[in-house]
């Protein structure tokens, strides 16, 4: 390997590695891409409580069925859909609900699960208790339910 090529490889390697390590000094909330400090699941989580804003379909049998990401957010990625719903509520829950309802109609949710309306709702659960509980138990229902918008299909 010639001197010039060796030097170029060395400079590139050291520079690339330095850039990859650089996020180590970032704050936990300063994530980026493709450089990252990989903060996912790094914060302490002493409580099993979860507060989540999501979209549910209200069916003709009175059930509340969570709506899949492609319909609730127009995206297949579940965590992206969570963020899209949060941003949708922040920028106008009623308009966002209409958007979801339009996609739900297009996806045929009225026929497939008997959906009559769509609700954008924030709820709190104890996640550990949720999975230990049976259907109909209070832990499955959640608490602090707040409906941001409801719209008919």
């Amino acid at each position: 390997m010639l001197g010039g090529a060796r030097l170029a490889a060395l400079v590139f390697s050291v520079g690339f590695l330095a850039i990859a390590i650089y996020p180590a000094q970032w704050d936990a909330n300063d994530d980026s891409f493709p450089l990252s400090n990989y903060p996912m699941f790094s914060q302490g989580r002493p409580s099993p409580d979860i507060v989540l804003t999501h979209a549910v379909a209200l069916t003709d049998s009175g059930e509340r069925v969570p709506i899949e990401p492609m319909v609730s957010a127009g995206n297949r990625e579940v965590l992206q859909s969570m963020r899209t719903i949060e941003l949708g509520v922040r920028s106008g829950a009623d308009a966002f609900c209409q958007e979801v309802a339009a996609r739900a109609r297009e996806a045929g949710l009225n026929a497939s699960i008997g959906a009559e309306s769509v609700e954008i709702v924030t709820q709190r659960w104890d996640a550990v208790a949720y999975f230990a509980a049976d259907d109909g138990d209070a832990a499955r229902e959640g608490t602090d339910r707040r409906v941001h918008a409801r719209c008919d299909l």
Partner: protein
Amino acid sequence: MPAARIAMVRLLVGLYGCIYLVVRLPHFWSYGLDDLDRFVPVGVVAWADAPMLPELYRAILLVTVALSFSFFLGVRHRVLAPTYALGLLFCLTHSNSWGKILHTDNLFLLYVIVLAAAPSADALSRDALRRQAKGTDPPPEDGRHGWPIRLMTLVCAVAYLLAGIAKLKNSGLDFAQGDTLRNYVAFDNLRKLQLGSVYSPIGAWLLPYAGFFSMLAWVSYVLELVAPLVCFWRRAGRIWCVLVWGFHFGVLVLMAISFAFQLTFIAFAPFFDVEKLATRKRVKALLERLRLVPAQTG
């Protein structure tokens, strides 16, 4: 180091890229958006105030998918591979600029950048075959084919080290000592369930066993923090790769989170003598069919 090793790594990472981009094309396509309210730019995309025109983004995406094949086959590597790396950098960053950054593609992209900058098509490529047909001597096997391999192993180790440092900084030893991991598994599965997606019933079923999660947390902590050390000891590096693969498999089983690049084991290819794959009969036949090595006559 043999040119075939870095070339085989290029083939594996390139093949992964082709399949991944084609399979995920509808997903990436859906980010052709002009919604300013939801645009939260990161990385190279953060230089712009508004998202790129959806049509232009989709055109770049299609070109990037096409270039993934030229990268895999080693066609005009010096020009097309860096173009592919740039296209991939843009498309993946754009798709992460809508409020939620996912961490499943970082290592894949960093590897592609290294491979694009390196002479990774000096063997097992259309370029190499063309050179051979012209009667040009192949580049000598020396350090030029070794540095990218060493760099990729270090980049891989750094990614895990940073994840360990983040845990140390953000939750200290509580991550391993307390119920943090168990709560994360419960939290992540419940949010997936309530967002209408696939969750892990196995993770949910194991929740009563708090000690199990504490043990897993300790294992992940140690694997992440010792990562840079194993780069300097080949045998330990390989054992570490297998253990980290097991860690990702555990994440898949307990949380339904797929780090596809790691789970295919391609992320760990630079730690192994992958050039030996090319001597296997079936692989050899496949390489011949793809016209990446000269066809054997007789």
